[in-house]
Symmetry: C2
Subunit: 250 residues, 2 copies
DNA sequence: CGTACTGTTGAATGGGTTCAAAGGGTGTGG
DNA sequence: CCACACCCTTTGAACCCATTCAACAGTACG
């Protein structure tokens, strides 16, 4: 087993080339040389404990960060101190894209459990993306995807009722967990009711009540942070407004 | 006068190099050769009439569009038909960035008055941005700025009361108009109350009522679509939550 | 083992929505 | 050029969903 490890113990440092999250952070079809260039630039495994800040709004922007393990929230604050959770981030997802525009981080990133991130020094990535077209394209795509995601959140915040917001939130988590090989319909929430509420534009009491109501209806089971989607189809029907209440988990 | 025009009447086509909006769409400090490359790729002046669609959600994505003259809204729709205005766009602003991720447009773009746009074929821009580092950087910045903007809208939709939303909306318009050389405190709205409401997560009646209330308080004057900011400082105080109600127009 | 935090639930309140009606402006066709 | 129709806007009144205030239970952590 050990004969695949080269050189010194320092190379225990995992590399992008054999990272299982590779296809989430990086484009497909990189050749070995390109992969080596990336491995040389990307610093793996900065570790954070639950509650630690990865970066803060207003700090100088130098790097993007990819979640390796763990779970993060990002928040923005208004001048008078009101705080809004703008997203939850799990393995393979990139944080910090909002910092590029002004060379300052535009939000806080906080670990919601003990976590590990990879650091992608942005100016180096910019340089590399000139030489590696698929990398450039990949970054454009990632940023665009973030814009699409934000637009969908705007749709949610602008149009949906509490029940629909919670259902959309649970289904979104479910789908992201499923795409990482976890159970789609049985998971542990990493965030508090208050954080869910902040993200969804609701108060924590409303989140709690709504979860209870969904449980009463038999769509879900709630045991503190342990959530089971019993009737994901019904949740989906709630979000889409359609009448068909099948149990298709997608 | 005519001696600055070269070749045929076809070259009446305005070019980026002498476009007054250059600094909004393109990076600063391009050399003449780079500028010529861009001029060769960017197609100017597609004209739209009020109500026309520039593109529709689901259509194949090929180009970004920069507003040259006029005014646009972009909207996303949920599966069950609810519609959300995700932004209003004036001269120099780019639309279509959300289409990059899936090669499909993710929203509808509709002209709110007779307008002209420049078309930026994306694959060509991608290629150019490899050769022109400042162009690549510019696109990363633009996309990042869009993400920041969306996060601020999320903050607004998640945390603010009707009065604050309207104030923030008016101040934002004011600021963007001012930066284009128009009056900051006296302007014509290009969109209906319903479109404002959709953008701000309010019903059109609430928009109307709130404008009336702000007028009653003497902060603004409303005459149909003609808006005057009489006390912009008070509006700002409303948004920031601060107590200082000075009249500083910024 | 106690203290503090997180979550649940109830009751009262309130801001925004819904429903409704009427006025004003705009644009088109006669 | 006028008349009519339609849309946009305003305003009122009743209603409702989410918030606020409050009390209590369960859990985590020192």
């Amino acid at each position: 087993m050990a004969d695949t490890i080269h050189f010194s113990p320092a190379s225990l440092k995992v590399s992008c080339s054999n990272c299982s999250l590779r296809e989430l952070c990086l484009p497909l079809g990189l050749n070995p040389d390109e992969m080596a260039q990336l491995d040389a630039v990307i610093r793996q495994s900065r570790k954070l404990k639950r509650g630690d800040h990865l970066f803060r709004s207003g700090e100088g922007f130098k790097s993007l960060f990819a979640v390796r393990t763990g779970f993060f929230k990002t928040t923005v604050a208004s001048q008078d101190g009101r705080e809004q959770v703008t997203g939850f981030h799990m393995s393979g997802e990139l944080m910090g894209l909002d910092g590029i525009s002004a060379n300052l981080h535009g939000c806080d990133a906080i670990a919601l459990e003990d976590s590990e991130v990879c650091e992608l020094p942005f100016t180096r990535m910019e340089e590399l993306s000139r030489d590696i077209p698929s990398l450039q394209r990949h970054f454009y795509r990632l940023m665009s995807r973030e814009i699409v995601r934000d637009q969908n959140v705007m749709l949610l915040l602008g149009n949906m009722k509490a029940e629909e917001r919670i259902a959309a939130f649970l289904l979104n988590l479910s789908q992201r967990l499923a795409s990482r090989g976890f159970a789609a319909n049985d998971f542990i929430l990493r965030m508090s009711r208050e954080e869910i509420g902040s993200f969804l534009g609701l108060k924590l009491e409303t989140v709690s009540r709504t979860l209870s109501k969904l449980q009463q209806q038999g769509w879900i089971k709630v045991d503190h942070k342990h959530i089971q989607l019993v009737q994901p189809g019904e949740l989906k029907a709630l979000v889409t407004g359609c009448a068909n209440a099948n149990t298709n988990p997608m």
